[in-house]
C-alpha cells in the first residue's frame, strides 16, 4: 500500500526563478524507510514542505495516508510528524516544557508515547530543566526529534534530522528509526550522511529539482560502473594535487584516510611510476568496492559536466 504519493509535482518560488521541483513523481509504501538524497539546494526541503501541507505546489498532486495535501490539509497535519531542517523549538522554554507543549498541541501526553522517544530523550533528560536556547546544537536536534515523535504520527517526515548530531548518537538514532518502522510508521528522511542513506530501504537521488534515480542502496552500489581504487601516500594533500594533474586518472577525491579514484585511460604501473617520480613515499594503491558515497559523487559530478 502506498502511503505517500507525488504525481508530477512542480514548484517555482517567485517569478523568473529557476524551478525548485520539476515534474517529480514517486511513492513510498506503508512502513517503508525512504531516503531523499541530493546536493544542497536540490529541492528536498521543498518536497517536505509540500507533503506536510505547508507549501502549495504549482502543478501536480500529492497524497499522504490517502489524503490530498490540498483538500485534506487539516487531517494530514494531525497525523504526520515533521522535523524541519531548521528546528522550531521555543528557545525560552525548557526541554521538558517544549516536549509537553508539543504533546498537548496534538492532544496527547508525554507519558502516553514515552516508549517511542525514550532512547533519544534519555540522553537529554538530565538537562530537562535547561532552556532550549542554552543547549548545544546536537542536543537541540535531539529535542526537536522527540517533539516531532511525541504524538505517535503515522508518517514521519525528517528533513536532515541528524545534522549536528554526533557519530554515536546518529547510530542510536537510526536504530530507533528501524524500531519505528517495525511499528508500521512510514518514514521519509533526507540526509547528507551517506552511511545513513545505506540504512534506507530505498533512496531517491535528487538533483536540481529532478529525480535522477530511485532504487535500493544495494542496487545503486551494484550499478557502479568500472573499478574504484583507494590510494594513499605520506602527504595526502600533495598526493591529491598530483593525481588530479595526471592525465590517465578520471575522478579523484578524498575519502577519509585514503583518496578514491578511477582510471580514465592510465594503468596502475603508470600512476605509481608518476607518483614515485614526484617524490611520494609509502604509496598504497588498491582495488576497492564502492560505497553509496562513491556512487553519489559519481552521479553528481558526471551529470554536472
Amino acid at each position: 500500500m502506498e502511503t505517500v504519493t507525488l504525481h508530477n509535482i512542480s514548484k517555482t518560488y517567485g517569478k523568473g526563478a529557476t524551478p525548485a521541483l520539476k515534474d517529480v513523481s514517486f511513492s513510498v509504501n506503508k512502513g517503508e524507510l525512504f531516503g531523499l538524497i541530493g546536493p544542497d539546494g536540490a529541492g528536498k526541503s521543498t518536497i517536505f514542505r509540500i507533503l506536510t501541507t505547508l507549501l502549495l505546489a504549482d502543478e501536480g498532486t500529492a497524497t499522504v495516508g490517502g489524503l490530498d495535501v490540498v483538500k485534506d490539509y487539516h487531517r494530514i497535519r494531525s497525523s504526520v510528524g515533521y522535523m524541519p531542517g531548521r528546528f522550531s523549538l521555543y528557545q525560552d522554554l525548557t526541554i521538558e516544557e517544549n516536549l509537553t507543549f508539543f504533546a498537548t498541541l496534538f492532544g496527547t501526553t508525554v507519558a502516553a508515547n514515552y516508549e517511542l522517544i525514550k532512547d533519544i530523550y534519555r540522553q537529554i533528560a538530565p538537562f530537562k530543566d535547561r532552556r532550549a536556547g542554552k543547549l548545544s546544537g546536537g542536543m537541540k536536534q535531539k529535542l526537536a526529534l522527540c517533539c516531532a515523535l511525541v504524538h505517535k504520527p503515522e508518517v514521519l517526515f525528517l528533513d536532515e534530522p541528524t545534522t549536528g548530531v554526533d557519530a554515536v548518537s546518529r547510530r542510536e538514532f537510526w536504530d530507533m528509526l528501524q524500531q519505528l518502522k517495525q511499528q508500521g510508521i512510514t518514514i521519509v528522511v533526507s540526509t547528507p550522511y551517506m552511511d545513513e542513506a545505506r540504512r534506507c530501504e530505498r533512496i531517491a537521488l535528487i538533483q536540481a529539482g529532478s529525480i535522477l534515480s530511485i532504487d535500493t542502496p544495494d542496487a545503486i552500489i551494484n550499478a557502479y560502473p568500472g573499478q574504484l581504487y583507494a590510494l594513499k601516500a605520506a602527504h595526502i594533500p600533495h598526493l591529491l594535487n598530483d593525481v588530479r594533474g595526471f592525465e590517465g586518472v578520471g575522478q579523484c577525491y578524498a575519502a577519509g584516510e585514503y583518496l578514491h579514484m578511477v582510471f580514465r585511460s592510465g594503468s596502475e604501473e603508470h600512476l605509481l611510476a608518476f607518483l614515485e617520480g614526484k617524490g611520494h613515499k609509502d604509496i598504497i594503491l588498491k582495488k576497492i568496492k564502492p560505497d553509496i558515497e562513491d556512487c553519489f559523487i559519481r552521479l553528481l559530478t558526471t551529470t554536472h559536466q
Binding site: 534519555r122 536536534q141 554526533d166 584516510e257
Partner: protein, 247 residues
C-alpha cells in the same frame, strides 16, 4: 612551524554548578590543521568561544595568536577568523554586500576590499551569484562563502565550528579544498566536525568527553592506540564513556 598558535592551560568554564569545559590543556602549532572533536554537549563550542575572545573563562590560561584570553579579547578578535555553528553571514544582504561588510569590519581598505573580493569570488566560482541574497544560496555555497569571508583579513588562525554540518558529500570536499589552500598559506585551522572522514584530514585531533580532553594525537596514532581501523571506532570507544548525557 614551532611557533604556537594556541597555548591553552587548564581552561575551564562553569555555568552555575555545571562545568561545561573542565580543565583542558593543549597547544596548537602555527599552520596546523587541528580537529576538535567530541560528542554533543561535550563542550566544544563553549571552549571555542573562550578561545575566540567571545566569553571569559572561569579559570585557567590561554593565549591565542600570542594574545591573552582574559586581557586581550579585542586583539584576539582582530587576529582570528571565526565561523560560528549557526550561520554567520547576513541572509538579507547580497554576496557582495556581505564581503564588503566583513572586509570593512576587519579594517580592509577600499582597494584591498576590491582585490580580495574579486579574488574570493573567482576562487569560489560565484561570479553569477554576486548580486544574489545570501539567504537564497544553497547551504554548501553559504558555508564556502562564510569561510572565505572569515579569512579575508589573512588571520593567523581561523576557528570553524561545524562548518560542513548538513553539507552534501561533493560540496564538503570542495570546502576541504578551501581549508587545505588556507593551511598552505600558513593559516592555522581549528575545526570541529561530526564527520569522521574529515577527522582524517586533520594533522592532529583532540576528542572531548564531558568537558575534558580524553585523547589528543594524530589520526594514525589514535587508531593505533585504540586498536581501531577507523576514526569512527575511536570516537565510539571514547564517546561511549561519557557520563553526563546518559541516565
Amino acid at each position: 612551524m614551532n611557533e604556537r598558535a594556541i597555548v591553552c592551560k587548564g581552561l575551564t568554564k562553569r555555568f552555575g554548578d555545571f562545568i561545561a569545559v573542565n580543565n583542558i590543556s593543549f597547544d596548537v602549532d602555527q599552520g596546523e590543521i587541528f580537529g576538535f572533536l567530541g560528542a554533543n554537549g561535550a563542550g566544544k563550542t563553549t571552549a571555542m568561544r573562550m578561545l575566540c575572545g567571545l566569553s571569559y573563562p572561569t579559570s585557567g590560561e590561554a593565549a591565542v595568536a600570542g594574545y591573552n584570553v582574559f586581557k586581550q579579547q579585542e586583539a584576539i578578535k582582530r587576529n582570528i577568523g571565526y565561523m560560528s555553528q549557526k550561520f554567520s553571514l547576513y541572509e538579507s544582504l547580497t554576496v557582495k554586500e556581505n564581503i564588503r561588510f566583513y572586509g570593512g569590519v576587519y579594517g580592509l581598505s577600499d582597494r584591498q576590499l576590491k582585490e580580495k573580493g574579486d579574488e574570493l569570488i573567482t576562487q569560489l566560482g560565484m561570479e553569477n551569484e554576486v548580486k544574489k541574497m545570501v539567504g537564497s544560496l544553497p547551504l554548501g555555497w553559504k558555508q564556502k562563502l562564510a569561510f572565505s569571508v572569515a579569512i579575508i583579513h589573512q588571520p593567523r588562525i581561523v576557528f570553524l565550528d561545524e562548518p560542513t554540518g548538513g553539507v552534501d558529500p561533493v560540496t564538503r570536499r570542495q570546502f576541504w579544498d578551501l581549508i587545505y589552500a588556507a593551511a598552505e598559506k600558513g593559516i592555522t585551522i581549528f575545526v570541529t566536525t561530526h564527520y569522521m572522514d574529515e577527522a582524517e584530514y586533520c594533522n592532529r585531533i583532540s576528542i572531548m568527553v564531558d568537558g575534558r580532553i580524553d585523547a589528543l594525537d594524530t589520526p594514525a596514532n589514535l587508531k593505533q592506540q585504540f586498536r581501531a581501523t577507523s576514526m569512527d571506532e575511536v570516537f565510539y570507544a571514547l564517546a561511549r564513556s561519557a557520563k553526563r548525557s546518559a541516565d
